[in-house]
């Protein structure tokens, strides 16, 4: 998909000889555009839920939410064992570097899931620990987050393989790779080891083009290109 997106972007930009986007610039814009659309999925998913609650959404082919869920679930990494941080407390674990949203933290003993840990704000955890009825237990553990690490309660979950995460990761950075330059133009080569296509579905290619055009328009200081991209994006959003 990345090559067709790039070709479309270049075709639009070059139409009136506005300019040229180098592969490295394109890759930067592509990454940014993909992240923008990735973020929007969560906002749109929420809107769709609100529409369902307002009874203005259908089922079957009209079930838009299902489509959003499929896209988001594509980025789900399941039951990844978290690495333990020994300092300063024994029950602290580091989160994966590529996580976008934690879906579930599972606490295990001997490979068996004992309970799903619930996220609790740092301001509440002391109160929760003091509560007789709701203090974190093996069946109902809890965790707090600080930076890129979590602290799991009760602190009996302190083994190397005691905590696993199911999370939504960031999409991988797209990379349009090439081998040689003939007649001043790089030739697309997807066999390169660092090649990476967009991870969003094919029907997002129009949105990706529109987003990349906006970034490219700013880069080459062409307001027309930026506006075109903006209008395209608005029209796509209205259709959705």
């Amino acid at each position: 998909m990345i090559n067709s997106v790039r070709n479309t972007v270049l075709a639009i930009i070059n139409k009136n000889n506005y300019g040229y986007i180098s592969p490295s610039d394109f890759n930067l814009f592509a990454k940014q555009a993909q992240l923008d659309l990735f973020d929007e999925y969560f906002v749109q998913y929420n809107q769709q839920i609100n529409e369902e609650n307002s009874r203005v959404s259908g089922t079957g082919y009209a079930d838009i939410k299902k489509g959003y869920e499929e896209v988001i679930d594509y980025f789900s990494n399941n039951e990844i064992i978290l690495s333990k941080i020994t300092d300063p407390v024994r029950n602290r674990f580091s989160l994966p570097a590529d996580y976008y949203l934690i879906n579930q933290i599972s606490c295990l003993t001997g490979g068996q899931i004992q309970g799903e840990a619930e996220k609790v704000s740092s301001s509440k955890i002391n109160l929760l620990n003091k509560s007789l009825l709701t203090s974190p237990s093996i069946s109902y553990p809890a965790y707090t987050q600080s930076g890129n690490s979590i602290t799991v309660y009760p602190n009996t979950f302190a083994g190397e393989k005691d905590v696993a995460a199911t999370y939504i990761r960031y999409p991988l950075d797209p990379k349009w790779t090439f081998t040689t330059i003939s007649n001043g133009s790089p030739i697309f080569d997807q066999s390169q080891s660092d090649y990476q296509d967009f991870e969003l579905p094919l029907d997002d290619s129009n949105d990706l083009v529109a987003k990349i055009l906006q970034y490219a328009g700013i880069s080459i200081r062409e307001a027309d290109v930026f506006k075109f991209g903006q209008i395209e994006e608005q029209s796509q959003n209205q259709q959705q």
Partner: protein, 307 residues
């Protein structure tokens, strides 16, 4: 949690304790309650949403506690020997007592709660309002107090019949100072049924966590029937609920969450409240076990002559 097969039910597959699954089918676990509630009653399209699990857990446990106090009729029994100190330490999961019995000579005898004071704290006094104090400012106690000493050595007088010693009674002399405790006087002119019990008496010192008996209970076997709150000493995996109350507990959690949430319409809260109340009524009727055969047994006494 999957259903267990009959071999697992009867033998626990040989694991100790082998009887751990007996009767388990009557109950639903706390884990199931919380999981089912989160799956079925909580979510984007439900009345309850965006609630922390610990709140659901809290309300589930509170609901189970409330049911244990009256509706469940799950009465625990503990048999202990009362030694010379005349104390029965309350069980670790004790909430309230149902009945206390003396088990003697193969007969279970119900005990009466003594309405008189049987135990007290006493401070060492050198003069009126002059007490001795510890270094930390706490008043020095006299242990045991005079009333406790009397009770322990058996010389504490009581209005209960179990304290009566026949030879102390002079039928010809009405001694108001001492005969008040010899309740044969009452027996003669109209028995005071409240105190007319030959068995030992007790008082419960809730704060101290003990049941104090009179001296006639020394070295006797005592059975305490009591209710707990069902929290199983904090082990969540052991907390269960009778299946008759399963629907009620979901309604209770829904109501408790909605009632404490800002911005929920009053009619929704009222609906949840009515739901909860109706389900509790239904469950209580179901658990009351009103069988035609039992009614018949009671009805058979209707033609009995009252003499």
């Amino acid at each position: 949690m999957a259903y267990i097969n009959q071999k697992k039910y009867y033998t626990n597959d040989g694991d100790n304790p082998t009887d751990s699954n007996w009767g388990s089918y009557q109950y639903v676990s706390l884990d199931d309650i919380v999981t089912n509630f989160l799956l079925m009653y909580d979510g984007n399209h439900s009345l309850v949403n965006n609630e922390n699990r610990y709140k659901i857990l809290f309300h589930a446990k509170r609901g189970i506690q409330e049911l244990n106090y009256d509706a469940f009729k799950e009465i625990k029994s503990l048999e202990l020997t009362v030694f010379d100190d005349l104390k029965f330490v309350l069980p670790s999961d004790y909430v309230n007592w149902v009945k206390l019995s003396l088990f003697k000579d193969g007969v279970v005898r119900d005990l009466t709660e003594n309405i008189q004071v049987q135990s007290a704290v006493s401070y060492i006094q050198t003069a009126s309002s002059t007490f001795d104090y510890e270094a930390d400012g706490v008043t020095v106690k006299e242990e045991p107090s005079s009333i406790d000493t009397k009770r322990l050595d058996g010389s504490l007088q009581s209005i209960y019949l179990n304290d009566v010693v026949d030879e102390n009674i002079d039928p010809n002399v009405n001694n108001y100072d001492s005969d008040i405790n010899n309740s044969r006087i009452g027996a003669r002119y109209g028995l005071n049924t409240e105190t007319a019990n030959i068995n030992p008496t007790f008082t419960i010192d809730k704060k101290s966590g003990v049941i104090n008996f009179d001296s006639t209970m020394a070295n006797q076997s005592c059975i305490l029937q009591y209710i707990s709150d069902g929290m199983e000493n904090g082990d969540d995996s052991l907390i269960t609920l009778n299946k008759m109350f399963e629907e009620y507990i979901y309604a209770y959690i829904s109501y408790a969450v909605l009632n404490s949430k800002f911005g929920v319409q009053e009619y929704i809260i009222n609906r949840a409240r009515k739901d909860k109340a109706a389900l509790l009524r239904n469950a209580k009727i179901r658990l009351s076990n009103i069988h035609p055969s039992r009614l018949l047994m009671s009805m058979r006494g209707q033609n009995k002559w009252i003499k």
